[in-house]
Chain length 220, copies 2
Amino acid sequence: MPDLPPSTARDRLVTSAFELFDAQGFDDTTVDDIANHAGVGRTTFFRHFGSKEAVIFPEHEKLLAGIQARLEASDPDTRDLAVVEAARLVLRYYVGEGDQARIRYRLISSVPALRAREIAGIRQYEKTFARALSAWMADSPDGALRAELLAAAVVTAHNHVLRRWLRGETKTPEDDFAHAMTIVLDRDRSPAEQTAVVVLRTDADTEAVSAAVTKALRTL
Amino acid sequence: MPDLPPSTARDRLVTSAFELFDAQGFDDTTVDDIANHAGVGRTTFFRHFGSKEAVIFPEHEKLLAGIQARLEASDPDTRDLAVVEAARLVLRYYVGEGDQARIRYRLISSVPALRAREIAGIRQYEKTFARALSAWMADSPDGALRAELLAAAVVTAHNHVLRRWLRGETKTPEDDFAHAMTIVLDRDRSPAEQTAVVVLRTDADTEAVSAAVTKALRTL
DNA sequence: TCCCTGTTGATACTGAGTACCGTACTAGCA
DNA sequence: TGCTAGTACGGTACTCAGTATCAACAGGGA
């Protein structure tokens, strides 16, 4: 009575869950329904997914591991690039999902239990970022706080862009993401790292100006 | 068999829940246990708290309303002060709680269901901040994103300070909070809003300098 | 053939959360 | 005093998520 089996029991459970949740709602679908529709036992469902909510985020663990791996492959010097690419990993996954991501978004928007589950998952992303950043920024003043702030900003910006795309408010999520990340990284740069150039007119040649600049900076 | 009744059934349920959770753990305490210990029926528990987890955050709704009220009493010009004071409301409440806050922290640290509940609550705070900020910043470029970033930063910094206090790592949470907020607000100021002063020597008097500055700024 | 290991299904149980109903107390009014 | 409405409470019965346990079955060596 279910559809043509897409090979594994786990996959059938996921597609069955999305179908039934979408058709008759989350609360009116029991785990038994999902298991029957997938042609497996109830026990099998709970062996693959710890809870009824978890089946909606079947790749969560893999995404988390992907972020972790990307961050671990980096170091303090390239941390900006690392966090941006790690976050982009997640964005690309969901955008690549297409309709499935939109159905999930609809479900999350209307079912508090699923919203809670999503928030918990997002928080795991954030903690993963914060852990890596904190290790890299531990020695700077207020390093732990600044690491958490940057992690929160990256995750917030990512979600902002993703949700705009899910709502159909943009067709260019990757460009929006890049733009959002420049804002996030700009905010992270302290004023001391920002360079302002004041232009005065002078008759001196370039080398003389350059020498004067070097001397002025050295006296700081 | 319970203790001396602290007046209302709701209060008795809260203190009973904290006592039992602390003594025998969250999972090994049933709602029946709590209700019996408080001397009321199980139905009464669920009438006061929607779930077994919610009893740990009995003032959550009030705090949320407090934040909302503080923000609504403000306007775009005083938004920095408003968000800082709204966040400080929450900090003061938990610090004022004392031991109860520490027990809650221990429970949350060891019980995933409670952690999930806490995160969901924090997210509600964040959304409340973001809504107000977004309304105030709607017209500026990327206003919605910047509002969410500021909201996330305020909440993250608040939690950072609160958790340090809960872990006994600081005795001056209010001072730490003030310091953290200066960092958050600094990050929120765009480079264009930051003013650098370059000092050159000149023989001109103050008024002539002032006039020259004004003229220079106008040509931008 | 025996054994090992991994996947599955069936069964039974606990306990959270909901729905419904009856009851006790209080406030207000005639 | 009696009547009524509103509110807080307790009890019962039910659904269903989640857990624990055991048995069946497959393939794969040795």
